[in-house]
């Protein structure tokens, strides 16, 4: 019984990571959609997206973003069934890290030391708020 509870918690933590991964990608897709399509991507990814007919229009990215977001809501609701809010809430702020990484890699946004410092402060803040 106790073992089952522990494995459910581990599953819950894994689900948080999946949910944050999905949310970060949802945000990335919305950004690409809002910026008028794959032209906003860094060169290697831009060429790849522009080659594909479907990914070359901004509306595809908006639809993709919304779809991922809806998926994320379901994932997050499942997480809250498995984990305590005090654990899930600070872990949810991992999406700020995910977004910063994706923006840097795929969009070439300047995520420098100051921006990282901001993200770290926010994560630390959510941990304290949940204590």
């Amino acid at each position: 019984m106790a073992q089952a509870v522990v494995s459910l918690k581990i599953f819950g933590v894994m689900l948080v990571f999946v949910a944050m991964f999905v949310e970060s990608f949802a945000q990335l897709c919305l950004k690409v959609g809002a910026s008028g399509g794959p032209a906003v991507f860094s060169p290697p990814y831009r060429a790849f997206a522009q080659k594909s007919g479907f990914l070359d229009s901004s509306i595809s990215w908006k639809i993709l973003g919304v779809t991922l977001y809806v998926l994320e809501v379901f994932l997050w609701t499942s997480v809250l069934h498995l984990l305590d809010v005090s654990v899930a809430f600070p872990m949810g702020s991992l999406c700020f890290v995910g977004v910063a990484l994706l923006c840097r890699i795929f969009l070439g946004e300047a995520v420098g030391r100051v921006r990282w410092l901001g993200v770290l402060c926010i994560i630390a803040g959510t941990v304290f708020m949940a204590l």
Partner: protein, 144 residues
């Protein structure tokens, strides 16, 4: 510290609106599923929620948020704008503390201060830095 760049008013208004809408979504969502037992399955929770008017308030705010957010992202970096939404944690905490008459604990205050500090650091970075195709489409000139 990077030099402070003037953030366009439309971006500021969009971000403030995003925080307000985020707060409305979270509070109304909470009220829509209030009283649903944690043991209820996902489907049961959804079925109970759709009979609650707060669910429709949450959905309306969600759609409004989508259009607002797309407008913000058209002008600002995602890695710049998104961290600001952490301020909605503070507004939600404030509202739930007030409505549930909870006491504000010192650890929560430290958390609030850290989030403010984090958002301050983000606000000191340039709001739009993404790479733009140069002389391929001709729309890279409006930047600056």
């Amino acid at each position: 510290m990077e030099p402070a760049v003037k953030i366009p008013r439309s971006v500021i208004i969009g971000i403030v609106l995003a925080i307000v809408l985020d707060t409305v979504i979270q509070i109304s969502w909470k009220m829509a599923v209030e009283g649903v037992s944690a043991k209820c399955s996902l489907v049961d929770t959804a079925l109970i929620a759709i009979r609650n008017p707060y669910f429709y308030l949450a959905m309306t705010a969600f759609v409004a948020q989508l259009f607002n957010w797309l407008r913000v992202l058209a002008e600002a970096d995602l890695s710049f704008a998104q961290p600001f939404t952490a301020l909605s944690y503070i507004t939600v905490l404030g509202i739930s503390t007030y409505s549930l008459h909870e006491r504000i604990t010192p650890t929560r205050l430290i958390g609030v201060a850290l989030i403010f500090a984090g958002v301050y650091f983000i606000s000191r970075t340039s709001h739009n830095t993404s790479t733009q195709p140069i002389c391929t489409t001709g729309d890279g000139t409006s930047r600056g």
